[in-house]
Symmetry: C2
Subunit: 527 residues, 2 copies
């Protein structure tokens, strides 16, 4: 009887949806939106609490805080009515996992992904509005490390699912798996192996990432590509200890000079990368890619200039590719940190014993992080100047590039949702130069397509000082997750009811088998 009622509710939703389309998309209303009323202050307080936990995965001294963030999230999910929330230890880092079975048969399975760890941050980087882990609300913004990347969007997922379970008496329109990790910002080094050993926890029809961003405050985006990433540290050694620059200068090789020479040898004058084999796996940009990138080029260029505060966008292979092409389709090699010798006030006339650099690179198409890391390390060994010792090692940050068909089923459903949320405004089809390590990996290893439903915005200083999140995005995010999950359930029902295989929507990469919750629960208890 309950099942029948629920199916009726779904049918009503579905009819309402098509009426909305017929009526030029008057935003569809869900009963869950009523549940959100008068809860904004509570939700804000919760986010502030979450942000106060300095869950910096890069720093061993913050390991306990990453753990604390996992515990906090687990408790909040349990409070939302999500059953069986578990924390798995994956390497040194916690993973928060849970699943909900759909109330309807043959419902699709959605894997919702997000991360509760954050980038390092210190006041010295330029945090002048508040300290990174003392969240501060000014008008419509919350300033704190992790506010936009990714605690804001992540928490809204919990709020949305809480509303669905409350309004529908614990009945979900789709099977949901939650995969919330604590090592994204260091490249999720331990997760790939763990996921391969726990395949059934991952199996699903669609991955929905709560990590990512929208186009602007008034326009959604459909992200159809991410760059991959990797990182290497270079350590250069000269004398056995710091020397007097007068007593030894000109006679003993200076390791800073060696490092500078080495780093300069990695790049040609024209900005392209001189490391042998670095470009292996890249291919020319296609006409379709060029066309899609040109659609947003002008707006994006203006925005990139404004956000970075530079008048000329001249980084990378400036002479060879347009700006958006460089960001979406070309790899990079950036020195993200360099240090050695005396760096305090005034002068110390020292010839230092060591010099160091951290390199990170962004990868595209068929480039493989492990292979590029190896090429960079080889280059360091081959080009080490006489008089120094040069070592290089993998920093364990590996992300495969990710690409999807902008028109696949998941993105179609996403479009419907975004039209709802942004008052009928068409979303932009864009790519991001950033990386989410697990997305590319799950697509490659599990053949699960991914969509991005995250409400950070490009100007919110993620990874930099004064990161912030818009309070208005919280409401958009929770409504969007309600809308998306219902739309997806309906669309799958519709596809199945139609029973015409030739009408299956064109999808580039999509799993066809839905995982039953019985299987999921079994897996759960196995671990």
């Amino acid at each position: 009887m309950k099942k029948f009622t629920f199916l009726c509710v779904l049918l009503v939703h579905y009819i309402a949806f098509h009426i909305a389309i017929a009526q030029k998309r008057a935003p569809r209303n869900f009963p869950e939106y009523g549940f959100f009323l008068n809860k904004q202050q509570l939700y804000i307080q919760e986010l502030l609490e979450f942000l106060r936990i300095p869950s910096v995965s890069a720093s061993s001294e913050h390991l306990k805080d990453v753990q604390a963030a996992a515990e906090w999230l687990k408790n909040r999910m349990l409070g939302a009515g999500i059953p069986n929330v578990q924390i798995f230890q994956v390497g040194q880092y916690p993973l928060v996992y849970a699943s909900i079975a759909a109330a309807v048969p043959q419902a699709p399975t959605v894997l919702i992904y997000g991360h509760f760890d954050v980038q390092p941050a210190s006041v010295e980087d330029g945090w002048n509005i508040t300290k990174p882990f003392k969240p501060r609300m000014i008008q419509d913004k919350i300033y704190a490390r992790g506010a936009s990347d990714d605690k804001g969007s992540l928490l809204s997922v919990v709020h949305a699912v809480e509303a669905i379970l409350a309004v529908s008496q614990g009945r979900s329109p789709v099977n949901i798996k939650f995969l919330f990790e604590g090592q994204e910002e260091i490249g999720s080094p331990d997760l790939p192996n763990w996921l391969l050993k726990n395949r059934k926890l991952v199996q699903s029809d669609l991955l929905v990432s709560a990590d990512g961003s929208m186009y602007s405050e008034n326009t959604g985006s459909i992200v159809w590509g991410l760059r991959g990433a990797g990182a290497v540290q270079v350590n250069v050694t000269g004398p056995s200890h710091d020397l007097h620059s007068g007593g030894f200068g000109g006679v003993v090789q200076n390791p800073i000079h060696c490092l500078v020479h080495l780093l300069e040898s990695m790049r040609y004058e024209n900005g392209s990368i001189a490391i042998e084999g670095f470009y292996q796996g890249t291919r020319p940009i296609t006409q379709k890619e060029k066309d899609l990138s040109r659609q947003s080029a002008k707006e994006l260029e203006t925005e990139l200039s404004r956000l970075s505060g530079v008048s000329q966008l001249v980084g990378g292979e400036s002479n060879h590719f347009d700006i958006v092409e460089r960001l979406w389709f070309r790899p990079t090699l950036d020195v993200v940190g360099i240090w050695g010798g005396y760096t305090d006030q005034g002068i110390k006339t020292v010839l230092p014993a060591n010099a160091y650099a951290k390199l990170s690179f962004r990868l595209v198409q068929e480039q493989i992080p492990e292979q590029v890391v190896e090429k960079v390390i080889q280059h360091v060994h081959l080009h080490c100047p006489v008089g120094c010792t040069c070592e290089a090692f993998d920093l364990g940050f590996h992300a495969l590039p990710f690409e999807s068909d902008p028109d696949m089923l998941g993105n179609q459903v996403l479009r419907e949702t975004l039209l709802d949320i942004y008052q009928g405004e068409e979303p932009k089809y864009v790519r991001s130069g950033a990386s989410i390590p697990l997305i590319g990996f799950i697509q490659k290893e599990f053949q699960i397509p991914a969509v991005f439903l995250a409400f950070g915005l490009p100007d919110e200083n993620i990874h930099g000082p004064n990161e912030f999140y818009r309070i208005g995005s919280m409401d958009k995010a929770r409504r969007a997750y309600v809308s998306f999950l219902y739309h997806l359930g309906e669309r799958y029902q519709w596809e199945r009811n139609a029973k015409k295989p030739e009408e299956t929507p064109s999808v580039s990469v999509t799993a066809t088998t839905s995982t039953s919750m019985k299987e999921m629960e079994m897996d759960h208890s196995e671990l």
Copy 2:
């Protein structure tokens, strides 16, 4: 009557001296040596106390400690019986000044120079024997920042003069001026102007530097050259704040890349310096210079390798000059510090807003620090890569190169003293690659020749971690100062008594007029 007695004492000293020479230099004994007996423990405790003051001139937070070191030194000098010890404020730094009138007419005037400020030091630099300002005595060595450079030798000057005044009832064989400064390690930026305004405090026949070093534990050295120095900081700016390296990498210029390119542009592949006009004021090495450098070459090369812990001495213009030539007669440009971006554990994928470097250079012959600083700053402006802003500024560390005739009168007297102290072992005639800013300035502006009577040794890690000083050097130093001052007084008496102008010893640079103490006292009260 007293004057007559004192002259007799001098005569006895003089006769004893020539007897010593005749007897193949059996080390000459001074009554002051008796005064030193049983005082070594006391002297050590004093040095430890002096070393506990972290008088780092480069750091504004240690300014009060530089002041404290000046007060400590002043009190110790007053305790030694030196009258009218004064502290002058020269810029932000104290200068300890005093003078003693000779007990004999027409005695020469000696300006004893030293410094009580020290180089910066922090445990992270590799101090693993003790903390920099917690002096620790292990067997015959005292470990602490400033032990060898220059508090050890400086304190022995006070002990020596204390002994002379005590033994001779306050009567000195020469006029002595003490010029102990607190800004040597930052290049004595404020002193040149101050000295020019207080010329009479400086006027003297010979400068004796208590800053410098001896050749080895068993061999003295006569230093006849120092390199000059200068320093510049380079600040490179890219975006207005740290950016996400994924969201902006390849599109926004990375200031670390700009800095690396800029620094690399300053040096040719062969190690010579590519900054236009940098070599202005240098000249080819003369045959005499080559000969003198070759005398010590083999020993010095072995020692440089051992002390630096490198197997190959390949820094600087390796292809063009021999090792000792590079150290003694050639300029250098060293990056002494570099920093920018993320330098902590793991990885932060950031495209930083800024990158910085500190450069220091060593100068020779007729190079002028201010001019070279200007050339370096011009180079930075001319070679700043597109997309970055590059600024450079003078760090205020200016030292003129210094050269003297190895055979001048001051060095002849020094040789006699060193033969005494080192049991008849001939001293080595050497130069140093290091700089003492005031020495070159005083020589140039006041035509006062300089000798070096300082007992640091080359392996004592000055400017580096675990700096130390040998306790045995303390005794050598105080005996040497007693010996040197008496030798010098006698030598001048002898030169005058001979009254044969044609027999005046060959000196390259030497002042001929001795400043009367009356003048000195007047100057004193004028300030």
